[in-house]
Symmetry: C2
Subunit: 549 residues, 2 copies
């Protein structure tokens, strides 16, 4: 279930991860054996504690009554065991109560968790982001009161961004933060309503720490007038803050995670970071959070593949074309092998890219060399939206393809595959819709520096015709965009897909260089045969659009 052998090979042999992190001062002593041991223990915890709750989470759902949320049976006990075993703080600094391990190990942990139980995993999913945000932007008083509780996961955290009229467009946020001139603790009063707040209310922890985007009274309109406030469910004196959960949403999936409508009714809060720079404070967590959503995609697709693969090795129907008698295992039928091998091509290649990106997050933060840090930052900025969009698109469409392996049984709930399809669908939306990721990549990152960053990244990949065509197409887009403001928005999706496929091609080239056994042959062939051809189609769509400029 946890696919630990694959993960070990990709981290160790393909990416040489230990050598990469050992070049960074905080991880100089983190050896490969320790890391593998951590992952092995993580796998055991996930399999024995979290995975068994996947079905009950979906069936029982969270319940809402009189402002309180009850999570499905077993969720609270599993979460208490999770934080008490130290899992949330894997990649937090030792001085904050953490384990001080590389980010990639936390990434693998959350990939495993999402595959085992996406709904449950939402609860601790925002912890590290909240930790990083508070660590970098919080006042000393706030850090003293909250940082360790969040680092260890004793208290859970939320990000309160969306409002009913402000989704992708956070500039429309109306929630207000009003300073209290006579408050001795520099507190503010927060008023407003937020929707789609994952874990806004629940019974997993004693306190919940909300990070709320709101406007100070003198704020300019738009996104540059947003400030960030920390608003706890329980105040330091033990009294309840004026934070009300009004209802939870009924959703397509992800039932184990309460999606809350939250009302702040003159709630007491404290500003985090500079006035009007709330989005900046949140951006600290953005790349890591988006990468984690990409890793959710990997984990969900792995879980779907495992189920479909197991079924295909048991179920017999009809004679396969190369068999002498039937019924054959459906795994022998070319249509079924194609589905399974294609998903493996995405999972394996996606893992290489996601783990590499997680390693680069640490390089960007800790390398002693400025140029190395810069290159790592560039990689993370450019590749993170690509991973987020491409791997969550694939998690949904690939899980649906895996459902197809089951035939009619796939549509029945007891087999569990349809839950993965429903759960995975949300990941294409949250943390910025996949369309927003494409615009982020092409408009805000590629075009913003005249294509310099992406080109520098691409020329360091192994040479290939697709890579070279992408470099040329990038140059053409840079040239044509100023005269045609709709152009980049019209081709952003195609551009992101092209980058994803060129990156996957490079990942498969790295796997090929490191692999000696037959494990990787079929997905490598599937990648070349059925995945990579999309690249030419996407480039043709962009080139056709360029002709019409």
């Amino acid at each position: 279930m946890t696919a630990l052998d694959d993960i070990r090979f990709l981290l160790h042999d393909v990416l040489q991860a230990p050598a990469q992190w050992q070049a960074l001062p905080p991880f100089a002593d983190t050896d490969a054996d320790l890391a593998l041991q951590v992952l092995e223990e993580a796998g055991k915890f996930v399999t024995s504690v979290v995975a068994p709750l996947q079905r009950v989470g979906d069936e029982v759902d969270c319940r809402f009554e009189a402002g309180r949320v009850t999570t499905p049976p077993g969720f609270k006990e599993a979460y208490q065991a999770f934080w008490q075993a130290g899992w949330p703080s894997l990649a937090c600094a030792v001085e904050d109560g953490g384990q001080g391990l590389p980010a990639v190990l936390e990434g693998v942990l959350f990939e495993m968790l999402a595959g085992a139980n996406h709904g449950w995993t939402m609860a601790p999913g925002l912890l590290h982001g909240a930790y990083a945000c508070l660590k970098h932007h919080g006042s000393q008083a706030l850090k003293d009161a909250y940082l360790e509780k969040i680092a260890t996961g004793e208290w859970l955290a939320t990000m309160c961004l969306t409002e009913a009229h402000a989704g992708s467009d956070l500039g429309l946020v109306r929630t207000k933060g009003t300073p209290q001139p006579h408050a001795t603790d520099s507190s503010v009063r927060v008023n407003g309503s937020k929707i789609f707040i994952s874990g806004g209310e629940h019974d997993l922890t004693d306190n919940i720490v909300h990070l709320v985007l709101a406007r100070l009274p003198d704020a300019p309109p738009g996104p540059k007038g947003l400030s960030l406030f920390l608003v706890p469910k329980v105040l330091p004196d033990g009294s309840l803050n004026a934070v009300v959960c009004e209802r939870i949403e009924e959703k397509m999936g992800l039932h184990g995670s309460p999606t809350c409508v939250m009302r702040f009714d003159d709630a007491i809060g404290w500003q985090v970071g500079e006035a009007h720079k709330g989005l900046n404070a949140m951006f600290v967590m953005m790349n890591a959070a988006r990468l984690h959503v990409g890793l959710q995609g990997v984990g969900l697709l792995e879980a779907a593949w495992q189920k479909a693969h197991a079924y295909a090795q048991e179920r017999r129907q009809m004679r396969a074309p190369t068999s002498t008698h039937g019924p054959s295992l459906i795994h022998e039928h070319p249509a079924i092998r194609r589905i399974l091998d294609t998903q493996r091509a995405w999972i394996d290649g996606g893992r290489v890219l996601a783990y590499h990106t997680a390693l680069q997050l640490d390089v960007a933060a800790h390398s002693p060399d400025a140029a190395t840090r810069g290159a790592a930052q560039r990689w993370c900025a450019l590749v993170t939206p690509v991973l987020k969009a491409a791997m969550t698109d694939q998690a949904f469409s690939g899980a649906s393809a895996c459902l197809q392996v089951f035939g009619g049984h796939g549509y029945i709930r007891e087999w569990g595959i349809e839950q993965i399809v429903r759960d995975s669908r949300v990941a294409m939306i949250y943390e910025g819709t996949n369309e927003i990721q494409a615009i982020d990549l092409l408009v805000r990152k590629v075009l913003a520096d005249g294509g310099a960053g992406i080109t520098a990244l691409l020329v360091e990949l192994p040479a290939s015709p697709h890579r070279d065509a992408l470099i040329e197409t990038t140059a053409a887009l840079v040239q044509a965009a100023p005269a045609d403001p709709e152009l980049p928005y019209g081709v952003a999706d195609d551009y992101l897909r092209t980058v994803a496929l060129v990156l996957l091609e490079s990942a498969w080239s790295r796997i090929h260089a490191a692999s000696t056994d037959g494990r990787w042959t079929a997905p490598a062939r599937a990648f070349r045969t059925w995945v990579l051809p999309e690249c030419g189609m996407r480039l043709a769509v962009i080139q056709q659009r360029l002709k019409n400029t």
Copy 2:
């Protein structure tokens, strides 16, 4: 909701449907005005009676207790109104109690029904197939007892094919039919278990007529040893037959339709058609049933598009690239327009192909000219699996794309779009999985006659480079297949997609020729820009595989 203006234009102006059916003796007097009036009334019935039950069907689900199935509130009343108004018998012969109208009108009715309430529509969905099967293969005694009840829909019908170990591979069916030497009414006793029986038990009608695939005692193994039996829930003397509903499945969607596990415990039945030729008797209904599933795809995608389109005309987020100030309607954002226009390209083109195919069903049955009948039969045999697979794939992926238009709201049940995604998923599986459709097309139909049929069909389409490439690729496959038995199974999916896209190109060329207003401009452009390019990619995949033969 029923998109009647579009349907009218496509039937009347693009396909000139009335002229087509008036050339057939049974419909010589069926004029265009009558047909349009029937469709208008159908639209009213669907909108006022069936559509309002869509949500309750999903939320309340069917309930199972002690062998009885209760359908969601309102379902029974709606069904009673439906059959009493004569809707099930629209395309049944007048002498059987029907209206004697062309099959295409029934097709449009069921497209509307599926879009309005897929779950409810499952109940009458098999009626026409059962009618045709009984009419062509039933004994006079069986027809006297059952044909009119089925034609009018006073009694509902099922197809009992699948068993736990026999899904795509019906040759594995084990249910037995045992003749009773001393029975005066030539009845048999049926014993066995069937699964995935839509409407196997319910409270909509007084009787349910099961058509059951089973083996006679002297039957050879495999699919050529299957016979068909009619097994009613209530016997002619009014007593209950030994037909037991053991449970209903919990499914991803389609909650309004009970999916039953049925046990036949020495149940009394009567053979339909010849011994060991049960599959032949069922094939009568196969093309029509598959076409109807393709039309379900069209109807579901239309329903998803309507919801997303309406939302995109109301919701404002961010400034669109060509606007001077924001927030703009999200319909102005290129990424949203792309999603919506692309789905319209599939709906509009898919409608032309599906309606044309429905017209050809009647031509194949009723044309006085043998060559015309032959060409129509060829069209139906080749195009039906293409429509079934391509339109149901698109219904699911397109409904998911429409969900994306809603952002986070799309994932919330109250908006109704996620129900369409869940409901539509089953159509890729039932009536033969889409992978089976692809094998049916390429192996059983295209290669079986050396490519003659498909080539004859393609050369009559408007000339295009894609069409010509498909003709060439077909010839190459015909030549290479004998030496490489896996080849057609490996490329069947790509081949079906290529045929679908070439057919859609021809449909858009027909729309273009008939249209004078701007309604069709954006989807026509979307088809050329974003849909058709897949054709080249698919052909390249096939050609690459041919090189490896």
